[in-house]
Amino acid sequence: MPHVLVADSNFRAVVGGVSELDIDADNVRRLIEAIDRRFPGSGAYIDKRMAIAVDGEIHQDAGAIPLTPASEVCLIPRIGGG
């Protein structure tokens, strides 16, 4: 199942201190819903503050991105810029 990496300590606090999760989901939206079910409130946090990298590609809105069992999903703080 897709492997989720939590690099940011602030979000790690939202998901019970874990740095890695294995979540069964076939797209990013369902993966976030699954994380939210396990850690209530984490879905809203992701929506507002996090960017999502799927297999190395960063997305601001990744909901529809399909996932495979080999997918790597990395949750990182949303990035702005100058």
């Binding site: 990298a53 997305h59 601001q60 810029g81």
Partner: protein, 758 residues
């Protein structure tokens, strides 16, 4: 979600992309015809001015505007009482969530003034002289409070507290009392203790960088009018008209549909124009007076009241084995946020080790509020600060180990398939190629003279995508208009026109790029994060591809053949089933548009993902005058992975501009505050940015490792080049004088003192 409909074949010959046409905004800018924020005027327009706090930290006990309002010629006065008292709420408007209450309070102080220059009231009058006289008549009663500006002093337990509601986020346990530390973040990997135990050389240093301003030449300026029916219009210089619309609507309690924002030409932004200062005040003054209001900041106001980037302290401990393998790094970053939380320490943390493959590290960042202007984004926000520290330490590590500084970086370089320190796996990166480019460049082997030194440093920026809209309209004569919602801060009009021209098969001078107002084009995130050529360019290309599909359909209709018998090539429709049929040019099809379905137009909105990260590697030569400590930059070479340069001259300009700003940060620029927290050098005479005569020709080397997610392979280019120069200059100075300099700017008095202490 974005989707690339049709990507040019690998190796396909491009006729427009990669060339250097004359910029579409060039004539306007060199002739003075370009209309910047301050150039707009309306009949009956009033002049707006702002009364600012003279204290760095003070409770506002009362604001009495009666005498000002009674002055003949004064048409409106506003204070915080004229704006809704917003709840603390994070709102997504652009690149990331911002706290609306903080934005509102930064525009107009409520309860407390949090920095010298904080707005406490604003006036609209029939002349500048009357407005300024009225400011003197506004009586503000303050209770002056102790202030704190130094970042480490602000972190102390007994520091003056800016916000009673601020409790540090990101700690293992919720603190029991408020603090100026808004947030702590941490990234870590591996076993730090074991990593340092394996090290045979360790460098441990504390680095200090001052707050510096973006230094855009054009001050903030706007004209705003609020009609009697509640419909507002704003003309302003910003990096995002939609951002201005959203923030104005929220700060004033209006609907977004009640405000139309037209972007003026922008005279520099560099991240500093990604928020609002004047626009909500001008709208409020117009609402109260019933007349248009123009507001233009003075240079002093720009320095005192708009975002610089953080001053910071960064502690680095880094260790390596004798062969140069970096085994561990422990980094602590403390960044000023200014009056409200939200420094770029997160990005500083995430970029700090982004160029390195290190098994064991810990990066801890602190976001700290201080009695100074709220920081705003500045070109690769946060990254130059952490890169200055890390790249200085890596340089010293190379010296300690007797290794070549480029070889040390190559040995520890991230490559495709490796995990970035901030999490994701890298794909299609061109970092090693930039190191190879500077290693093999004649600059690196050129001899140095007495008192001269050569420094190397590298840098990284994520680059982002995000929401963009673009429209392409074909005119009746076969020319085209490209409409986007992104202010052109670095050549995006040229690159948009070129991508459209390439796709349509038109000469680029037949394509007119327009930056539209908020009512004329769909939403686009602001121009920032090095996103526009990537994300908006993707939208432009897809809109042009839709046009091509439509043109093929129309040609098939004209010829009365199946659409699969039509091919679009070099701006013409070709009939495949009857090759001797004369082709139909775009102009010929456009002339018949009324008979083939009406106007030829397409609009695409998308949220672009897959922006390719950028890397740069720089070499800097300096000479230090042994008598005065003055540093002359002799030669500078900057290699950068740019994906594919759509307009190479513009890309080279971005590289040169970023380097110039980084050199200024390294050598000259700093906010200087007196004992009362007032900025002492709020003008370009005393806050010295580099000018052309201070700098050598900066030689850019464009490395093209295409980003497969973009139709032409583009990556963002505007931010990477400011990341390495602080350390490249400092490393050159260290090698020239034999003393490691850890505090910027590297001003002559500091260097003299360092040289005296050798």
């Amino acid at each position: 979600m974005s989707e690339v409909l049709d990507r040019p074949e690998a190796g396909a010959a491009l006729k427009v992309v990669g060339t250097r046409p004359i910029r579409p905004d060039g004539v306007d800018k060199v002739t003075g015809r370009a209309a910047y924020g301050a150039d707009f005027a309306m009949p009956g327009m009033l002049v707006g001015r702002i009364k600012r706090s003279p204290h760095a930290h003070a409770r506002i006990l009362s604001v009495d505007t009666r005498r000002a309002q009674a002055l003949p010629g004064v048409k409106a006065v506003v204070t915080a009482a004229d704006f809704p008292n917003l709840a603390s709420e994070e709102y997504e408007a652009g690149e990331s969530a911002s706290n609306l209450r903080d934005i509102s309070c930064n525009c107009m102080a409520r309860d407390k003034a949090l920095y010298d220059g904080h707005a406490v009231a604003a006036v609209a009058a029939t002349s500048a002289a009357i407005a300024e006289e009225a400011l003197e008549l506004i009586e503000v009663t303050y209770e002056v409070l102790p202030h704190v500006i130094d970042v480490e002093a602000a972190m102390a337990a007994d520091a003056p507290l800016l916000h009673a509601h601020l409790y540090t986020q990101g700690l293992e346990t919720r603190p029991d009392k408020p603090s100026n530390i808004a947030k702590r973040n941490r990234l870590e990997r591996g076993d730090l203790e074991a990593g340092f135990a394996a090290a045979e050389a360790v460098v441990e240093r504390r680095y200090v960088t001052p707050a510096v301003h973006q230094g855009y030449i054009e001050p903030h300026a706007c004209v705003a009018v609020m009609a009697a029916d509640g419909q507002g219009q704003v003309w302003s210089s910003s990096q995002g008209q939609f951002m201005v619309r959203t923030y104005c609507a929220k700060v004033l309690g209006l609907e977004a549909s009640d405000i139309r924002v037209t972007p003026a030409e922008i005279g520099g932004g560099f991240g500093g124009k990604t928020t609002v200062y004047l626009e909500p005040l001008a709208l409020a003054l117009s609402r109260k007076s019933g007349a248009p209001v123009k507001m233009v900041m003075s240079r002093e106001e720009v320095f005192r009241a708009t975002g610089p980037t953080s001053g910071a302290v960064v502690e680095v401990k880094i260790g390596a084995t004798r062969d140069g393998t970096i085994t561990a790094a422990d980094i602590v970053l403390k960044y000023q946020a200014g009056a409200y939380e939200g420094s770029p320490v997160g990005a500083g943390s995430m970029t700090a080790l982004a160029c390195y493959d290190i098994a064991n590290f810990r990066i801890t960042g602190y976001d700290v509020v201080t009695n100074s202007p709220k920081v705003a984004a500045y070109r690769a926000p946060g990254a130059p600060i952490s890169a200055f520290a890390v790249e200085s330490a890596v340089d010293e590590l190379a010296q300690t180990l007797g290794l070549d500084p480029i070889a040390l970086r190559e040995k520890n370089a991230v490559r495709d398939g490796m995990k970035a320190a901030y999490g994701p796996t890298y794909r299609n990166i061109g970092y090693v190629e930039t190191l190879e480019a500077i290693r093999d460049h004649p600059h690196y082997a050129a001899p140095l003279g007495p008192n001269q030194g050569r420094g190397v440093a590298v840098g990284f920026w994520f680059n982002v995508g995000g929401e963009s809209t673009a429209a392409v309209h074909v005119n009746e004569d076969g020319s085209a208009v490209v409409v986007t919602g992104n202010p052109d801060i670095g050549g995006s009009r040229a690159s948009m026109a070129m991508m459209a021209a390439e796709t349509l098969g038109l000469p680029v001078d037949k394509v007119r790029p327009i930056v539209a107002d908020t009512a004329a084009i769909g939403f686009s995130m602001l121009t920032g994060g090095s996103r526009t050529t990537f994300a908006t360019g993707m939208a432009v290309t897809q809109a042009a591809q839709k046009i091509v599909a439509d043109l093929k359909r129309r040609a098939a209709q004209i010829w009365d053949v199946a659409i699969d018998q039509v091919e679009w090539r070099e701006g013409e429709a070709l009939r495949l089933d009857k090759a001797d049929t004369p082709p139909l040019s775009l102009a010929a099809i456009a002339a018949q548009s009324a008979r083939t379905g009406g106007p030829i137009t397409a609009e695409v909105s998308l949220n672009a993902g897959g922006a390719g990260p950028g890397f740069g590697a720089h070499i800097c030569d300096v000479e230090v005058d042994p008598e005065t400590g003055y540093v002359t930059v002799l030669r500078y070479t900057a290699a950068q992975d740019v994906g594919r340069a759509i307009h190479p001259a513009y890309v080279e300009g971005q590289v040169q501009g970023g380097v110039a700003q980084g050199i200024g940060w390294a050598l000259n620029e700093e906010y200087i505050f007196d004992g009362e927290g007032k900025m002492e050098n709020a003008g370009f005479l005393d806050y010295r940015v580099p000018v052309a005569s201070d700098l050598p020709m900066i030689e850019p080397i464009l490395i093209e490792v295409p980003n497969p997610r973009h139709p032409f392979g583009a990556k963002g280019v505007g931010e990477v080049p400011i990341v390495p120069p602080l350390a490249a200059v400092a490393n050159a100075v260290a090698r020239a004088i034999g003393v490691r300099m850890t505090s910027l700017p590297l001003s002559p008095p500091k260097l003299r003192a360092a040289m005296d202490g050798r």
